[in-house]
């Protein structure tokens, strides 16, 4: 157990060290010179100075990541919520097939979708645009959102809505005053996870962003694609970890963890 957790969070320690290193050569276990002692000599921003400067484009990447993630989440929610209601409550011909189709994006390679979409999007002018990326992000996020919302809806006894109706509430009042508030924790968890999936997507963003739209994963990928890691890459990797940590804390604190994620 301890080993497993060490395996999962332990590597963040050297990453942190690397981000503060100026020179850290093999076989030293600590840098021979730290970034803060070297920074005065440097003519251009080094390490964290670079990471936190506008030149690193980190701010832009964070902003894009959050923006795309939020928009994807909202649209995904708007599409999936009504569908989840039907899927959770009704039975209809072809339902199983439809549900299977909905989970297909989980098993179809991202590369296939990304490469095909980029061909499509170039033709309709969506490539390299926020709209294009957001639309593309819907594909891998929908299966999760639908699953989670369906589970949430299944967990909600129809009785509550019916009770509201019997008490004199109109359909919309029942939805507004009873159904939505009761679904809220589940909806939030779904949104959280969708946001997470979206912010973790690399290939789709990369293929459809055409280098014009950078997000945390694409920025970091560009930094480490050669298979090496300098101080500024380490810094960016750490920053790229932050949104996840924030979401994790929120979900652990307020939403009974990510447990709903496993829907069924």
């Amino acid at each position: 157990m301890v080993l497993i957790v060490l395996f999962m969070v332990g590597p963040f320690v050297p990453l942190l060290v690397q981000s503060f290193a100026f020179q850290w050569d093999w076989p030293n276990l600590l840098p021979s010179e730290w970034w803060f002692t070297a920074r005065d000599r440097a003519r251009l921003p080094l390490g964290w100075d670079y990471v936190l400067s506008p030149y690193s484009r980190l701010g832009e990447a964070v902003l894009n990541t959050v923006l795309i993630g939020s928009a994807t989440t909202l649209i995904c929610l708007a599409i999936c919520l009504p569908a989840a209601r039907v899927l959770a409550r009704e039975d209809f011909a072809g339902k199983r097939a439809f549900e299977f189709y909905l989970s297909m994006p989980l098993i179809v390679p991202e590369a296939a979708v990304g490469l095909a979409l980029s061909v499509m999007f170039v033709r309709v002018g969506l490539a390299g645009s926020y709209a294009g990326i957001i639309i593309a992000h819907l594909i891998p996020t929908i299966p999760y959102m639908v699953r989670m919302l369906t589970a949430v809806y299944q967990g909600l006894d129809r009785g509550f809505e019916e009770q509201a109706r019997v008490l004199g509430a109109s359909r919309s009042q029942a939805l507004r005053l009873v159904t939505i508030p009761m679904l809220l924790p589940g909806i939030l968890a779904g949104c959280l996870f969708t946001f997470l999936v979206s912010t973790n997507l690399f290939l789709l963003t990369f293929l459809l962003g055409q280098g014009k739209i950078i997000t945390l994963p694409t920025l970091l990928f560009a930094k480490i694609s050669g298979g090496s890691l300098d101080a500024s890459a380490a810094g960016i990797a750490l920053v790229a970890t932050l949104p996840g940590i924030v979401l994790l804390l929120i979900s652990e604190r307020y939403l009974n963890g990510l447990n709903q994620l496993t829907g069924r």
């Binding site: 093999w26 921003p45 506008p54 484009r57 280098g211 560009a222 050669g226 298979g227 090496s228 300098d230």
Partner: protein, 427 residues
């Protein structure tokens, strides 16, 4: 876009004053520039020096950092394929050279012959008669035809870590290197082709082992001119050498040769003394990399491979479907200004793309003053060992040959491999 097409016709016909171009550029308002974003120093310079300068001209510079120059070329092609012509594409300017320029040129996707129309064309040597004009007129052997503007010079320079490699053991030739590796197996690696740095290393090997002893010269010809069989003959000894040293390269002694993927990876190996010599483009690399911590403080430049250190230039090209062609021209003009060249040399350490002898003395002096220091070698020694690039049409063939012969370890005779590569690459 008819307006843009009109502009293109006018400017290329020389019917337009620079002031008109400037005015039109302000109308364009922005310029979409695509460049390899893997160098933090360059990024800083681009954002802190170039962007403000462009803003002063009323143009906002959108500097798109890409991981591979080819991505931008692909974009141009994809745009063109979906019917976007001048004024409608998404790329205004690309920092490129060699293959990528060759591709655009082949596909007829370049804006036109603009280079000599720019005011700062005065900073370059265009006289065919002067051999020093070669790098402005030809890019990897491909005539530039003014479709791209020289922007930066580069020279392939290797560095040694003096902490592990004493001066007296420093190799000057490939044979020296092999001897060194016999004693220190695994302590060298070159970047994996088709990365251009890897390609460059391979080209230098081919020059050095040219069986005719004519060095780079035959490699200046295009593949049509040279022919596959002749290329195979010229390249065979070089490839033999590459094959021979493979077991002595990084990881070779352990049975699994490793070619680093890019410059950053190679630098990491060099920092950790996994390799003793690191090669790449970068006349002033030691200075800049010592300063930013990516090289050990004991790194020095060396002369290797003596006489075959490829020197070239890289360029700014404007695609045929540039959305803001006027702004792109203004941008290209700025980038070849003395001011831009001086700050670039100073901050990024990229050698000047303009030709000092064409400048007035004050400017030339400023440029010289801005140049970072050399460690272990002098500028003259470096100047004395240069060689030209290989013709772009050969590069792809050589690259494919390397992949087949070295990486995949094909047992086919080299001639056949080269022939296949040529056949495959024919459109």
């Amino acid at each position: 876009d008819e307006a843009a097409a009109g502009f293109q016709d006018q400017i290329l016909a020389g019917d337009m004053s620079w002031d008109d171009v400037l005015a039109q550029a302000r109308v364009d308002g922005e310029v979409q520039f695509f460049y390899w974003g893997g160098d933090d120093n360059l990024n800083v310079w681009m954002d802190s020096v170039v962007a403000p300068a462009m803003a002063e001209l009323g143009i906002s510079l959108v500097a798109n950092r890409i991981t591979g120059t080819k991505d931008a070329v692909d974009l141009v092609i994809a745009d063109a394929a979906s019917g976007r012509t001048i004024g409608e594409g998404s790329v205004d300017a690309i920092w490129l050279n060699g293959e990528n320029f060759y591709t655009l040129k082949q596909q007829d996707l370049l804006f036109g012959s603009f280079a000599q129309l720019l005011p700062n064309a005065a900073n370059f040597e265009w006289d065919e008669a002067d051999p020093r004009s070669q790098l402005n007129l030809r890019d990897f052997g491909t005539p530039t035809d003014g479709a791209e503007m020289p922007w930066s010079g580069e020279q392939y320079v290797c560095s040694a870590n003096r902490a592990v490699l004493p001066v007296e053991q420093t190799p000057r030739t490939f044979e020296d290197l092999q001897a060194y590796l016999e004693v220190n197996p695994g302590k060298f690696a070159y970047i994996k082709p088709p990365h251009y740095l890897g390609n460059t290393f391979v080209q230098q090997v081919l020059y050095a082992f040219n069986p005719d002893g004519t060095g780079a010269t035959p490699f200046q010809r295009s593949i049509e001119g040279l022919g596959a069989a002749e290329l195979a003959r010229l390249a065979a000894p070089g490839f033999e050498y590459l094959k021979d040293i493979e077991p002595l390269l990084l990881g070779g002694p352990q049975g699994a040769v490793r070619y680093p993927e890019d410059a950053a990876a190679a630098e990491g190996l060099f920092r950790n003394s996994e390799i003793h010599i690191n090669c790449g483009f970068g006349l002033y690399a030691v200075a800049t990399k010592r300063a930013d911590g990516s090289y050990p403080q004991t790194a020095e430049e060396i002369i290797f491979p003596a006489g075959n250190m490829i020197k070239n230039k890289n360029y700014l090209a404007i695609p045929a479907n540039a959305p803001n062609p006027a702004a792109a021209l203004v941008f290209a003009n700025y980038m070849s200004s003395v001011e831009a060249q001086v700050t670039k040399l100073d901050l990024v350490g990229y050698p000047a793309g303009i030709d000092p002898w064409k400048l007035d003395p004050a400017d030339a002096a400023a440029l010289e003053a801005a140049a970072p220091a050399h460690y272990g070698v002098t500028q003259d020694e470096l100047d004395d060992n240069i060689a030209p690039d290989t013709n772009a049409s050969l590069v792809e063939v050589i690259e494919a040959t390397w992949l087949e012969y070295i990486e995949r370890g094909s047992s086919l005779p080299l001639e056949e491999i080269v022939a296949n590569a040529v056949a495959n690459l024919a459109p």
